[in-house]
Symmetry: C2
DNA sequence: TCGTCTTGACCGAACGTTCGATACAATGTA
DNA sequence: TACATTGTATCGAACGTTCGGTCAAGACGA
């Protein structure tokens, strides 16, 4: 299994998938090894700080994903607000595999994570809502209202993911995304 | 440590707290033992089916909690709809310790639970929204709308819990409960 | 040959689970 | 009343397995 064939970014992406599927405690080294195709020891070559280091890099990947797939489209001033919103929500739906995949912001919030992870989690969650807030501000929505709605957006995304998983019904998630789009279009359309 | 002093119900309640705090994988026998004051072996006297059996009883407790603390108040036809709603939402806030405690519907939805747990989870989540749906139907809201709003309610509760934990800010949850109350009062007030 | 990468054996600790023994109150028997 | 029996609750110790993590040695491309 020549690991040089899979670039480091791809390794982190596979770790990301494993963590969001099994949770932090459930993502054992055996599973992380299987998910990446790398031996346990090889993983420690790439991530000398072990499982914790992998988790940190995975969170960093999540943050970058939000930046480029959610926030960047939302603040892309070259486009009209409505299409910016649609692009972002489409990316959100795809990013969670239409409700099949969990969100790291939820996953890593369970149990007792260390301080570094907790802080990264807080930043990432905050970042998430800021993108939507910016869009609303651009569209002329007043500050406090924009803040409230953007928080509400992330709450609905996270909540829909939880309920879709519990009910084993992905449409709970996809329908909620559609409803979010409608709500936004009423505001900024 | 004479365990006869703590009734079985109390043991299950403490297990409930441990599971929702640490997650299924994170709730090790050592932690469950510490949470209950019972030795590991003693836990197997009460729960011959082990950790899995404990999880099932804990989910059953959650279901009973929803029935008596959320659904029962919501369908209490002796009271006006508005006070029914207020009672239920107050109980919800208390039940999650104002956003400090996680929801089992989320916790047990992570990782690969067995079929029995998955089914219990689905029933419990479904039960949760049904209470709110009933209230709305009683207040004259039409069927499809009631269904949509009741789903939305559970989504908001779950999402707010996730975000409050990630941001380490309980007010995210309590404010959302207040907002839910306001939304309902506009509908049924 | 040098440095990067992989491998498989290995570590101590913790995992979920089981076991045998014990303490004790309730019940049966004389 | 006296003693044996039974059933419940608890414990410490240990089971085999897996955990996260380490190590020395070798494979392989530059």
């Amino acid at each position: 299994m020549p690991a040089a064939l899979i670039p480091r970014d791809e390794v982190v992406r596979r770790l990301f998938d494993a963590f969001r599927t099994f949770g932090y405690e459930g993502a054992t080294l055996a599973r992380l090894s299987e998910a990446t195709g790398l031996g346990r020891a090889s993983l420690y070559h790439y991530f000398p700080e072990g499982k914790d280091g992998m988790a940190r890099e995975v969170i960093a990947l999540a943050r970058e994903w939000i930046k480029s797939n959610v926030n960047a489209p939302l603040v892309n001033v070259g486009e009209p607000a409505t299409s910016r919103l649609k692009t972002a929500l489409r990316n959100v739906a795809n990013g969670y595999d239409n409700g099949r995949a969990a969100c790291l912001i939820n996953i890593f919030g369970i149990g007792d994570a260390n301080d570094v992870v907790r802080e990264a989690l807080r930043e990432t969650a905050s970042l998430y809502s800021h993108g939507f807030e910016r869009l609303l501000l651009d569209a002329g929505v007043q500050k406090s209202k924009a803040r409230e709605i953007s928080f509400d957006t992330v709450i609905q995304i996270e909540g829909a993911l939880v309920l879709a998983r519990a009910l084993d019904d992905r449409s709970v998630f996809t329908k909620r995304i559609q409803k979010l789009e409608k709500q936004y279009l009423e505001l900024i359309g």
